[in-house]
């Protein structure tokens, strides 16, 4: 056996080689064109390889060469603003080399090797450094400082440190034992990057989406799953988070989904301004696009490529948010490969290890103390695409067992164009208990109480709706009819949020809070007015309430809202006067 063997069998993306010495997960080059593949099974003298490129036209007998490396990503300055395929080939470089269609057998470095970056050291000669120590910084984009860290397993005392313009493979630091450090390091994607310890999350990831921040918050370092049938809003929700969440770095993985959706992100993000930094959102974004028609093995790898990049920025002390759209396509890639391997299938044909793979992936989320003692986090938000929208299937169930937040999308709501169509009755977040203090300190002391009031109104509504279905709303007592009106206001004014509206797309926390208060003010004023003899119709139809609701589409709403609420109060009170 040697480093070089030959193809024995080809079945779609799975190729079997003989006569080659290989270990699990070694990267190999397959066939005359040197297609990239990864060893996924060893069987006596046969070695099974998943190939990341299209295999038609390849024949038995062609060579297979072991590179001896495991599937790794290149980490260093130049990652941000990039768009990669599932195995970290920059799509822009592929376009230059092969035009608009992705053909095969072409390689491209994950980060540009000859670009010069201004390296500023943060250690000096004589300092001792260990894995994770920041030895210098590079201003990678307008808003992000890239911290150059000592890679794992290397440590010592700094003998020489440079300052100035270097490319990522030039040595910027030498240790006393002669170890040379460069700005680029490699990391095997299937191995989580080390950290000192995990912390319990205590800060929300603020998204500017009212239903998320207010009712079902996600913590920085937390995990959430968004299952929903097609057309229910998974992608728009993920894109909204990529745009408006207050993470410092965003890794967006388009895993087995539409090409045009990635194009949309690519064309939109450079023009969108991050509300937190006032600079283009692209500056903080890394994208992975392995669309549905691109090779499935690379789709399988894409989530690992993405999460490794996310961990790398976490290790610099950043809050990273990772979106994977859709984890179901990743699971299907696993299923396809597994069935080619003729493995014993588990539920619905998925491999038996599906749920452990899902768990391992989400386990890579978390808020951690980094090797250098910083605080960093990776938040993971996974879309799930259950067949027929039925979440009793294995991928949804495997995900829900792990994630702490469930944003359940509802086809019925989407059909009524109630967006985001997150079902407020069955969605949940397990984080409020650990986040409430933050909300009290940073928004308002009574924030959690307001949340409780809003969600219980929605609960009551759903119970009343059952009665209405039988007898009509006019048959209900007046106070319950009012409750229905208040709940309608919560749904139409607060929960609904148009992602495509320039103003409505983002709602600051303070504004969310004021809007919720406005609803409760309406409720209490209306109650008073009705008790004093006003007609429900008149109270509900006051024009100033319509104005209050419509004005949320106007910019500067936060400043106007108090005034609008005051006019609403006055008008409701005058409805009582009119009655007298």
């Amino acid at each position: 056996m040697s480093e070089k063997g030959q193809i024995y069998r080809i079945s779609g993306p799975v190729v079997t080689a003989i006569g080659i010495k290989a270990a699990m997960f070694d990267v190999v080059r397959v066939g005359n064109e040197g297609l990239m593949g990864e060893v996924i099974e060893l069987h006596g003298d046969k070695c099974v390889i998943q190939v990341y490129e299209e295999t038609s036209g390849i024949r038995p007998g062609e060579p297979v060469i072991n590179t001896g490396e495991t599937l790794s990503v290149a980490l260093g300055p130049g990652l941000l603003t990039q768009i990669y395929d599932g195995i970290q080939r920059p799509l822009e470089a592929l376009e230059e080399k092969m035009g608009v269609f992705i053909t095969r057998g072409v390689d491209a470095d994950g980060i540009v090797m000859d670009q010069k970056w201004e390296f500023n050291p943060t250690v000096k000669v004589g300092d001792s450094v260990k894995p994770g120590t920041v030895i210098g910084t590079v201003q990678e984009t307008e808003t992000i400082v890239h911290k150059i860290m000592v890679p794992p397993k290397k440590e010592g005392v700094v003998k020489d440190i440079k300052q100035g313009e270097f490319n990522v493979t030039e040595t910027v630091c030498t240790l006393d034992d002669g170890t040379e450090l460069q700005m680029m390091q490699k990391w095997p994607v299937r191995t989580p990057r080390p950290f000192l310890q995990k912390y319990a999350p205590d800060t929300p990831l603020i998204t500017g989406q009212r239903i998320l921040d207010f009712l079902f918050p996600l913590a920085k370092g937390g995990t959430s799953g968004i299952p929903g049938p097609f057309g229910s809003g998974k992608t728009v929700t993920q894109q909204q988070l990529a745009k408006w969440s207050d993470a410092q770095i965003v890794v967006y993985i388009g895993c087995g989904e539409r090409g045009n959706e990635m194009t949309e992100v690519l064309s939109e993000f450079p023009h969108l301004i991050d509300p937190n930094t006032e600079k283009p959102l692209m500056n903080r974004t890394v994208m992975i696009a392995n669309t549905s028609n691109m090779p499935v093995a690379a789709r399988e790898a894409s989530v690992y490529t993405g999460i490794t990049i996310a961990e790398y920025f976490r290790d610099m002390g950043y809050d990273v948010a990772l979106m994977a759209d859709s984890t179901s396509r990743w699971a299907e890639a696993m299923r396809e490969i597994s069935s080619r391997l003729e493995e014993m299938p588990g539920e619905e044909g998925y491999p038996a290890y599906l749920s452990s793979r899902l768990a391992e992936f989400y386990e890579r989320a978390g808020r951690v103390e980094t090797l250098s003692g910083d605080d960093g986090s990776v938040t993971v938000i996974g879309a799930v695409s259950p067949p027929g929208g039925d979440i009793s299937e294995p991928v949804s169930q495997g995900t829900l067992r792990i994630v702490k937040v469930f944003w359940g999308l509802d086809a019925g709501l989407a059909r009524q164009r109630h967006f985001p169509s997150i079902n407020w009755l069955n969605s949940y977040s397990l984080y409020p208990a650990s986040l409430d203090q933050w909300y009290r300190d940073n928004v308002a002391q009574d924030f959690p109480d307001i949340r409780t009031e809003i969600s219980s109104l929605l609960q009551v509504e759903s119970e009343l709706q059952e009665i209405v279905q039988l007898v009509g709303s006019d048959a209900l007592p007046i106070d319950q009819q009012l409750t229905l009106e208040v709940a309608r206001m919560i749904r139409e004014y607060f929960l609904q949020q148009n992602a495509f509206h320039d103003v409505d797309t983002f709602s600051a926390l303070e504004q969310q809070y004021k809007m919720a208060l406005a609803i409760l003010t309406f409720q209490s004023e209306a109650k008073k007015a009705i008790a004093a003899g006003a007609a429900l119709e008149d109270v509900v139809n006051v024009e100033s309430r319509t104005n209050l609701m419509r004005a949320r589409f106007e910019s500067g709403y936060l400043e106007k809202i108090d005034g609008l609420v005051d006019s609403m109060k006055k008008e409701i009170n005058s409805a009582v006067e009119a009655e007298k």
Binding site: I10, T55, I102, E332, E348, D390, Q416, Q469, L470
Partner: protein
């Protein structure tokens, strides 16, 4: 090309032929089978190793025996492409069906097609006016989109597809589309319906037809759409045409896929369809779009009939997960005598937002369509309630919504098969119908559009 003929078949199973040790054969290679009666069939390599080769036979394995001779053609399946394709009718395997000459190739194109680099796509955003109000207002189509019609047996999806093919144009332009029509397992009657209509309107001269009918080999259907899309890519990306691909019926295509999966004894996914059906369908649907540096475009209209009218069936389900929306045809509306019976509620155009609005359609378009949906959805829901409690139990708001739903179906959806409405006409009609509802209930409409377009309240 290998001239050597093998007679080493060991097994024949369904559409598959298994043969023993050959020289190395490439994955996906084209195979020619010579039967003992002298006739030939074609196939493609699905699995290849030093010991065994699995071949899928397009025309089915009837007549194949252990003595059948097999030759490997040394190449993967290719379509000869040339501008002469336009105006031709070909079989589901790409051979002339119209009695005309063979296509003289400008070059031969691999029919599997390479994936478009997502970085090289341009965002589709040019509004296509179909002249059908339900589509133009609520599920607006843009050039380069893939928008399937989800229908069911006995519904007029073919009429709708043809009406779209006839009327589709960019707003304020009369540039025509080249139609690539791909029939998979449809009946001769359905096919003739399409052909006569294309002939009648002169569109046939500007069309390429790939035809696999119900009595043609089922396995060939796996090739037909790939041929059609290869022709479409050639015309769009090498000759700047705007191509409209209509393929029907995707359900038959998926049945063939299931048949192959079963013959290979693969572990089946939902309802017996292969686990890789999503990826397989994506390799067709994703061949739509517009790309950098090329003028042409591919817009796709796949038609599929939902088995048992069930939208959660794997065929519509997986399609909907890939395409950029769907137009859903409703049996209920059809039974009410409404044409086109499009149910806008489960219908969706994901690219609509990019294609509408000021300078594209009209500034109030988004707002109007949101309001149409909301009001129609509420009205329809109330029908159920009214059936139980009667109209008397409804308040003013609900009554207005209920009436609106009827108006919407009878005045807005309903139009004739040759009625070609402009988008302005469609939007004006929408305002007229919405004005039957008190403005205070029209919460989806921006005040500024009410001031400008409301028939009775405009300023």
């Amino acid at each position: 090309m290998t001239e050597k003929e093998y007679r080493t078949i060991t097994d024949v199973k369904g559409p598959l032929v298994f043969l023993n040790k050959t020289e190395p054969v490439s994955f996906g290679e084209i195979v020619s089978l010579r039967l003992s009666d002298g006739s030939t069939k074609n196939g493609q390599v699905l699995d290849t190793s030093d010991e065994m080769v699995v071949v899928q036979v397009f025309e089915g394995t009837a007549g194949v025996d252990l003595d059948t001779g097999i030759r490997f053609m040394g190449d993967v399946f290719k379509l000869p492409v040339s501008k002469d394709l336009v105006g031709r009718i070909l079989t589901g395997a790409g051979k002339p069906r119209d009695g005309g000459p063979d296509i003289v190739a400008e070059h031969n194109a691999d029919i599997i097609g390479a994936a478009i680099n997502p970085y090289s796509r341009r965002s589709p955003e040019e509004f296509i006016q179909t002249g059908i109000s339900a589509i133009d207002s609520c599920t607006s189509l843009v050039r380069g989109q893939k928008l399937p019609i989800f229908s069911a047996s006995g519904l007029p999806h073919n009429d709708i597809a043809l009406q779209i093919a006839r009327q589709a144009k960019l707003k304020d332009s009369d540039e025509d589309f080249v139609v690539v029509f791909c029939a998979m397992g449809i009946t001769a009657e359905e096919y003739n319906f399409f052909r006569y209509d294309l002939e009648r309107t002169g569109a046939l001269e500007n069309a390429v037809l790939f035809v696999n009918l119900a009595d043609d080999p089922a396995v060939e259907r796996l090739i037909t759409p790939r041929l059609a899309l290869t022709a479409a890519e050639y015309l769009a990306f090498e000759h700047d045409y705007h191509v409209l691909v209509i393929y029907t019926d995707m359900t038959n295509y998926c049945e063939s896929l299931r048949q192959i999966g079963a013959a290979r004894e693969e572990v089946p996914g939902r309802r017996g369809y292969p686990g890789y059906m999503y990826t397989d369908l994506a390799m067709l649907y994703e061949r739509a779009g517009i790309v950098k540096g090329k003028e042409g475009s591919i817009t796709q209209f796949p038609i599929l009939t939902m088995p048992g009218d069930d939208i959660t069936h794997p065929i519509p389900d997986l399609s909907g997960y890939i395409t950029e929306g769907q137009i859903v045809i409703s049996r209920e509306l059809h039974q009410k005598g409404i044409y086109p019976p499009i149910n806008v509620l489960p219908s969706l155009s994901r690219l609509m937002n990019a294609g509408i609005g000021p300078s594209k359609t009209r500034e109030d378009h988004k707002s109007v369509s949101d309001q149409l949906y909301a009001a129609y959805a509420q009205g329809r829901e109330l029908r159920g309630l009214v059936a139980i409690v009667g109209e008397d139990a409804l308040n003013e708001r609900d009554l207005q919504m209920l009436k609106f739903a009827d108006l919407f179906e009878n005045k807005f959806l309903r139009q004739s098969k040759d009625e070609d409405r402009t988008i302005e006409g469609t939007l004006d009609l929408a305002w007229e119908l919405l004005s039957s509802i008190n403005t205070k209930y029209l919460v989806r409409l921006d005040q500024k559009w009410i001031d400008k377009y409301h028939p009775t309240e405009k300023k």
